[in-house]
Amino acid sequence: MNETKNNLLQLPNLERHPFEPRALKSILLSTITVICAILACVPLFSVLVMLIYRGGSRINLELFTALPPTAFQFDGGGISNAIIGTLFMVGIAALITIPFGVLAAIYLAEFGPYSKIATIARFSAKTMSGLPSIIAGVFAYAIMVITMGSYSAWAGGVALAVLMLPTILLTAEETIKMVPKRMKEAAFGMGCTPSQSMTKVVLPMALPGIITGVVLAVARAAGETAPLLFTAIFSEYALEPNDPTASLAVLIYNYSNSTSENQLELAWAASLVLVVLVFILNMVSRWIGSRTRK
């Protein structure tokens, strides 16, 4: 009866059976997807477990206060100069890029969003965000190391700045654009000039978003190795901005194939410190981001 009715109306068979081939195929594919998703999480946990397992034992006061050991020193030593070097170079990069990026973003979002130069600048920033990090190092080498004649923390900072700029610029533009129009118009209605409405109304409202972008850019820059390899290279001594400067990332790279067990342990410990630092920065940016969305 039912069948004849279906035939009359030319309806396909809409009933589902759990064991027909297409249902089985669906179940199979779902299983594969779940397995893939679990497999993709494995590296993250494996990395974290290994960092704690191999580097955790070295987390003590000495790690943060002492200088790196030589290859013949079988225990002790720390990574204080690398931590300071990383902070110093990321700091330089932030000092260069925050005003640079935010001012350009203001123009892109507010003063001339549809102008030709804005389109080109936006495109340049997007292109730069895809630039291989080693190219930033090559660039800093060409303009800083060759002209100054030596490797320095300044050159490292410039290389990191090239990498941070696009992130800061593009996120700042997005958040400035998201400030409601009526806020700006209220400022104009009070007789503000466009710059006053920008600095007194729009920027304070967009600040959390801009900070999110800055923190993300800092987190990324802190872990970058390639741009520092031949701009700041490495040093076993305390920070001297005009000389080669140590950084966490390059320390990990240099000690990663060291024959000295002590240095290798320090590489793991430095990785742990670096990953914890980067994760904290990521959490902070997420926290600021989620707080402002409400």
Partner: protein
Amino acid sequence: MAAENGEESILNHAETLAAPPTPVDKIFDKCFRTLTFVFTWATVLLLAFIVFRIGGQALPAMKEYGPGLLFSSDWDVNNNQFGIWPQIWGTLYSSLLALVLGGFFGITIAIFLTQDFLPHKLEMVLKNIVELLAAIPSVVYGLWGIYVLIPLLQPTADKLHSSFGWFPLFSTSFSGFGMFSAALVLSIMILPTIAAISQDALRAVPRRTKEAAFGMGATRWEAILRVILPTASGGISGALVLGLGRALGETMALAMLVGNSATVSLSLFSPASTLASLLALNFPEADLNQTGVLMYAACTLLLITLVVNMLGTLIINTTTTKGGER
């Protein structure tokens, strides 16, 4: 009349904030606008300057060696013979391998996260985990690759080589450092990029398209494979191209894992070298002549990644605007 009186009384109120801009305000406004304009230009000029500076440094080497350098495989510092074909090959081969693996996992995860497989809370947790994968610095992945991944792969790779040694992919014995380990780590690194952009593309598929498929009696996977994925294919291909761009430029994990030997081989287990790792390893101790050649290699890398990234951005831009209109 009464209203006018009311307005007047507000305007006459001594503490009103509204005021026309003073001359100082106007000058400040002009300066501030000019400043933002200057920095916008500076962004464009910075990119131009990067290309110009690296190109300028590479020019002498380009003149001396010509395009032949790209296709030669001799690297002999003492006789001033240079060729970067093995590096170009290694860059492309490792990136493509990583793209196949990372692309498969990335798209699968994007489907898993967007097609209502999980409750929303779990979805967010998994999304955050995948994003954290991208936050781990590549040098840490390199360290992890050397001491965790390579020992883990060794037995399987040895077995594959001894049983399927005739197959070109497995034709060299596995020494740990090589294409396979490098490409595997690389695929983990590009997975978050691909997953994130693919998720955006999948979320942009209109709900009614999906529901039309379900209404026709499609199973979940029939709807995904025949309706949702084709609709989102533009954005997903953009994601793949941008993932490829990241893989091409990645340096540290490769420099630490790829073995850095100028070999051109199809074998997964053979050590190799890439443009980025060549730069990373040779720059610190290069003399003037070699610096020119390395700048040439940097130019090549820059060109490849620029083209790939522009292509990716273009694909995403064109397909997402179309998606919005639909």
